[in-house]
């Protein structure tokens, strides 16, 4: 490979487009209509999801089986097998999409591969048994775009998901990759770029929602010999994997965003701070940087322009607080990742005291398209003050666990029920947790709230980086508040007293409530402490740590009262307050639980309902786990 110019970029795009016509967006349909010249290219593309979720369910074996089978049948000149990044519909994994047509296969095993090849590829009969079925009507939905999970989504940050091979730069270029950077470097001044980003209304996707254009202006105006453009990929929120997916799917979109950002502020050095827990993302990023360098898309005189930029990947060492900007910079400098008071703001004094701009992965991924299609295009999507789309990691008690990207303004209910398919096992929803340990639990009656930075904040939660965890009626809200407080307490860096001591004391109170030792006045004490911690902590971690407690107290106060005054946890999560019992109606007297019980406190005649001696019971839960008839219940 050699360095390329803008014309070279266009040549690659046209070549790849011809090859990939079958699958790139809507174009494959036009190709069918006009039967464009696709001589010499493959007649079918098989895309296997290679995201971390599908890999964990052995998608690599499927990929290997496919390449072998295609070869064995002598089809390797006709069928192209591609490993893509995360498809997003993780609940259906491992996933395969076949073009032309976009036929969606789910939960495939390596053993299914020969049948898929013979039936679908050779005989032309797509395999219905592996297709998606509508959970209500049982109707088969063969095409990916018709599946309700994808229906209400709009892909901007994830536009290449399940579409390109993330490890080949040509595939990215083929789908308009690096055109935003080319336009910025050739046609626009740094001021124009910033103006366009401002016009788009793009706000930081890492959580706080600070306007990106404004941040860039500050750094652009700062005078210094060296500046830095930084990317925050230290996605530490438990239950969130948006950034990981973008990095695995489409690492070049982040690099392109950083080139544009770096050009705008005048930075020639860049760092991507990525969690060590994301080995695949680090691998793909490193590879992407190498490939971009070979093409001259990174390094000196990018695309033949005057602008130069080098980007390095910096592997984080596992500290949640490093998601905070000043802590992240301290960490890159090789020190303990502890935040410092601001001002001076990083835009003036950041990494190594030089002006620095730090943006989140998803923010950068949106930038190339804003430059290419214009700020007003982006601003036409979303609500009045929140523009564009937002990616959410939808997890917990929901049918379609996965990654979703929706226009701002979509309601939380639409995400959970229309896209997510509702709650499994016919249960009711209790709460939606938004924003991770800094966010809050929203009760059922608030779910019609639109996704919008200000609207979500009004409810006491935050938009956060995009974790959306659904909790069903069997979840204990007090314990979930304790869980998040424990997280914040463990991750508190210890620098400022309100966070270090405040989270510790609040956790003590929550723990004792969950252990059935709550005292009268505990609720008031929590309510008194929460605002102190919120108002006086040094950084975002401490300032938002009380949010889960405050929202659960606001919406689920009765649960706290039940725990403290009645010593009851109706969800059965707080084991100290739980009593196990056997339902005589359901128990068939098989005796399995009695055999497994370590205390031997279950007795009963064979084939007759058994009884637990609650005095001797240590509440280990083995009986409940072992019962095949679900006869052991919380009483």
């Amino acid at each position: 490979m050699a360095r390329i110019t803008i014309e070279g970029l266009q040549t690659i795009k046209e070549r790849v487009n011809r090859e990939n016509l079958l699958r790139i967006g809507e174009k494959h349909r036009e190709a069918e209509k006009h039967s464009l010249d696709t001589t010499g290219s493959y007649r079918a593309h098989v895309l296997v999801c290679g995201g971390t979720g599908c890999k964990a369910s052995h998608s690599e074996a499927i990929y290997d089986a496919l390449t072998q089978e295609v070869k064995a049948k002598g089809l390797d000149k006709e069928i192209k097998v591609v490993e893509t990044g995360c498809n997003g519909f993780c609940a259906a994994g491992p996933i395969m999409v076949v073009y032309p047509g976009g036929i969606f296969y789910q939960r495939i095993k390596a053993e299914d591969v020969p049948e898929i090849i013979t039936e679908h590829m050779i005989n032309g009969n797509p395999l219905e048994r592996l297709m998606f079925r509508d959970p209500e009507t049982e109707k088969i939905i063969p095409h990916m775009q018709d599946i309700p999970f994808f229906g209400k989504q709009k892909a901007i940050a994830l536009k290449n998901r399940s579409l390109i091979d993330a490890e080949h730069i040509d595939e990215y270029i083929g789908n308009d990759g690096y055109r935003g950077a080319a336009k910025a470097l050739k046609e626009l001044t740094p001021e124009d770029v910033i103006e366009e980003v401002k016009k788009s209304g793009l706000r930081g996707r890492g959580g706080a929602g600070f306007p990106t254009g404004m941040k860039w202006t500050f750094a652009h105006k700062a005078k210094a010999d060296t500046k830095f453009v930084l990317c925050n990929a230290d996605e530490g929120d438990p239950g969130a994997f948006m950034d990981r997916s973008v990095l695995e799917n489409d690492p070049h979109s982040v690099l392109e965003g950083m080139i544009i950002g770096g050009y705008a502020i005048g930075a020639h050095q860049g760092y991507i701070y990525c969690r060590a827990e994301y080995p695949l993302a680090i691998k793909r990023l490193t590879l992407a940087i190498e490939q971009a360098k070979e093409y001259g898309l990174l390094g000196d005189n990018i695309l033949g322009s005057e602008y130069s930029l080098d980007i390095h990947v910096y592997q984080g060492a596992g500290a949640f607080v490093c998601g905070e900007e000043t802590a992240l910079m301290a960490s890159i400098e090789g020190r303990r990742g502890m935040p410092r008071p601001r001002p001076p703001f990083p835009a003036n004094q950041g990494l190594w005291d030089k002006p620095s701009v730090l943006n989140n992965v998803e923010t950068y991924a949106c930038v190339p398209q804003i430059i290419m299609q214009g700020g007003s295009w982006f601003a036409s999507i979303g609500t009045e003050r929140s523009k564009g789309t937002k990616v959410f990691a939808l997890t917990g008690d929901v049918v379609n666990v996965g990654l979703v990207e929706v226009p701002m303004g979509t309601s939380v209910r639409e995400i959970i029920f229309d896209i997510g398919g509702g709650i499994p096992d016919g249960k009711k929803i209790k709460a939606a947790q938004l924003g991770g340990p800094s966010g809050g639990c929203l009760p059922e009656h608030t779910l019609d709230t639109p996704i919008d930075f200000e609207e979500i904040t009004k409810l006491g939660a935050i938009m956060g980086s995009g974790g959306l965890i659904v909790m069903d009626e069997n979840s204990c809200m007090v314990d979930s508040a304790r869980f998040f407080m424990e997280f914040c307490q463990e991750e508190s860096c210890g620098k400022c007293t309100p966070c270090r001591e405040g989270t510790k004391r609040m956790l003590e109170i929550l723990t004792r409530i969950c252990k059935g030792k709550g005292r009268e006045g505990d609720i008031q004490l929590l309510e008194e402490m929460a605002p102190y911690v919120k108002d006086s902590a040094l950084c975002g971690l401490g300032q938002t740590a009380p949010n889960p407690v405050m929202t659960t107290l606001r919406y689920f106060r009765n649960e706290y009262e039940e725990h403290i005054f009645e010593r009851k946890c109706h969800a059965g999560t707080c084991t100290a307050m739980v009593t196990y019992g056997i339902d005589p109606e359901t128990c068939i007297g098989c005796g399995l639980c009695a055999k497994k019980c370590p205390q031997q406190c279950i007795t009963g005649e064979k084939k007759k309902p058994h009884v637990i001696d609650t005095e001797a019971c240590i509440k280990c839960g083995v009986c409940m786990e072992s019962c095949k008839f679900d006869a052991v219940k919380y009483v």
Binding site: A56, E277, R335
Partner: protein
């Protein structure tokens, strides 16, 4: 009194000369580079498995920085460990999605089966047990990772079978 490497030579006894040479080389090539400490420690840990105090002293002397800075970094980041690891590392995800799906029970089951606490290592050094904050594979929660392999959709009763796969 300052910590002296000479007093702690026995902590290095279990490492081979080759390993120690590798560490020296890593340190030497990064001497004087700004911000090198964390990447160096990451690589040293991947060579030696863990970072006893003697190793930290070696790194500090080699990079010519105070031992307090090295210890400060090692004790701050959860990725670094000062205790040895088992042949197989079990990491139980306790992120929110796994929590909702019962990760605590999975952890308790592992802890009682192996008779180790969080951060500990079995006596035969077969397994070490840790918890991690979200591995980002929430789609198959609850999840544990043994070495590099993820096992998802776990139930407390199925974890023992998984352990049997690792010698």
């Amino acid at each position: 009194m300052a910590i002296q490497l000479a007093d702690r030579q026995d902590e290095l006894a279990e490492f081979s000369q080759e390993q120690l040479d590798q560490v020296d080389e890593l340190v030497q090539t990064n001497r004087g580079k700004p911000g090198a400490l964390i990447p160096v420690l990451e690589e040293v840990q991947s060579v030696l498995g863990y970072l006893p105090v003697a190793v930290q002293v070696k790194v500090a002397q080699g990079l010519n920085i105070p031992i307090a800075d090295v210890y400060g970094v090692v004790s701050f980041y959860s990725f670094f460990t000062m205790v040895p690891k088992g042949r197989h590392g079990i990491r139980v995800c306790v992120g929110t999605a796994c929590y909702v799906k019962g990760a605590q029970r999975i952890f308790e089951k592992l802890s009682s089966t192996l008779n180790v606490d969080k951060g500990g290592c079995t006596e035969d050094r077969r397994f070490s047990l840790e918890t991690v904050r979200c591995l980002g594979v929430c789609g198959i929660a609850p999840v544990i990772i043994v070495d590099e392999e993820a096992h998802g959709l776990l139930q407390a009763k199925t974890v023992e079978k998984i352990l049997d796969q690792y010698e």
